[in-house]
Amino acid sequence: MGSRLIAALAALLLVIPGAALAKIKADETFVFPAGKPVRIIFFRPDVKVGSLGVGSVEEPNADWTAAARAKLTAEVAANQKAAGNEIVFMPEQEGDNAQIVADYQALFRVVAGAIAQHKMFPGASLPTKAERFDWTLGPGAAKLGEIGGGDYALFVSTHDAYGTAGRKVAQLLFAGMFGGFIPAGIHSSYAALVDLRTGNIVWFNVDPGSGGDVRTDEGATKRIGQLLNKFPSAAPHAAEPAPAPAQ
């Protein structure tokens, strides 16, 4: 479902340049509870990198994809360490645990899709949730915490397709002839933080126009920096009582 979400975001970009998309507001009051180390399980990210041809036909590039996945993963680890959080990678599982992890990842993609659809496109807002942000994987997600050894889960998904030379030419022609617009490529990403005790999505960030060329180290740094910008921080360690963690 992640790829379908990203495909829809990409489709959106292709049609409406610079569309004013609503900023998704996850629970902005969420902070990590004070005094406890924050252990975040980073799930294997959904990463797709390829090229985009003239007819908007996408060609996957496995080398780019593998490289991007490695760089983005390393960058997430660095980013979180710098933030003072403990980050662990969800290890490869076998048997029943592998199925549980896969099932929750599949569910997460669907939830992420619903969040993006209903919170990003003003016209697709759900009236009963217009002012709310309460999506969840359910309390059963605590199992993931046991399997992976953490209290939170971080999901990251990126989709990039770089315009080929042919496409760049078409872009120029098209722009010249009709004053129209063909975006150069697809560059969308999202990231989400899940509180594994409740399964609630406590933080969500989606960007259909992500920066940074993920095939490069600098680009991966820029991409993750943008994506995890305004990532929840720990409550301040101070004399006054810590703010209550969000429900």
Binding site: L12, G113, H118, W135, G140
Partner: protein, 202 residues
């Protein structure tokens, strides 16, 4: 039902942004599925403006792929449950007014297998049950759609009255979602009214 196609249709939503989902306020009886079936929801729901079929309508709380209640209002003989996916190569089966419950359940299953592009569909218990004051049925099912790996559970309730099929189904991922709002769905079913003489059910 068209969960998997939903995001691909995001494009369409942008093209016609207003009213993609409308509020169905609690405490007011409303007609559904462009039919004479009416429902009185105890809680607020969101109605999807683009309908899955001519006489079908979908409601959701958190998003169609997360919880979906579909109303089928008086499907007539010769008609399919929802819009064709590929009429030329994979036509949907049609309802026949002489169908008995097992035939209806099979019609539902076959429709999902074809439209959902997946053979992963199982029917569980099938029981007689009152529906909108008529002798009807209730059944459970489980399925996985093409292109996804989310296992979903479903419950359906309905009746064939006056040669037409009236049906309300509820589907949600097996993890958390199905159980979470099952009672809300059953409350909608309990409130359903359809035309026709009310029959007392023993």
């Amino acid at each position: 039902m068209r969960k998997v196609a939903m995001l691909a249709a995001a494009l369409a939503l942008v093209a016609a942004p207003a009213g993609a989902y409308k509020l169905v306020a609690h405490g007011a009886r409303v007609a559904v599925a462009k039919s004479e079936m009416t429902i009185d929801p105890p809680i607020d729901w969101n109605r999807q403006q683009s309908r899955p079929g001519r006489n079908a309508e979908a409601w959701t709380l958190d998003g169609i792929p997360l919880n979906e209640v579909t109303f089928y209002g008086g499907i007539e003989g010769g008609k399919a449950l929802f819009k064709e996916v590929d009429k030329k190569n994979k036509p949907l089966p049609v309802f026949k007014s002489t169908m008995l419950t097992p035939d209806v359940v099979q019609l539902f299953e076959a429709s999902y297998r074809i439209a959902g592009g997946s053979s992963l569909f199982e029917v569980g218990a099938v029981e007689p049950a009152e529906f909108a004051g008529h002798k009807g049925f209730r059944f459970r099912y489980a399925f996985t759609l093409e292109g996804e790996e989310v296992k979903r559970l479903g419950e359906g309730a309905g009746a064939v009255v006056g040669g037409k099929l009236w049906l309300i189904t509820y589907e949600a991922p097996a993890i958390h979602y199905f159980d979470h709002n099952l009672a809300d769905y059953r409350a909608l079913v309990a409130s359903a009214r359809i035309p026709g003489p009310q029959v007392t059910v023993e």
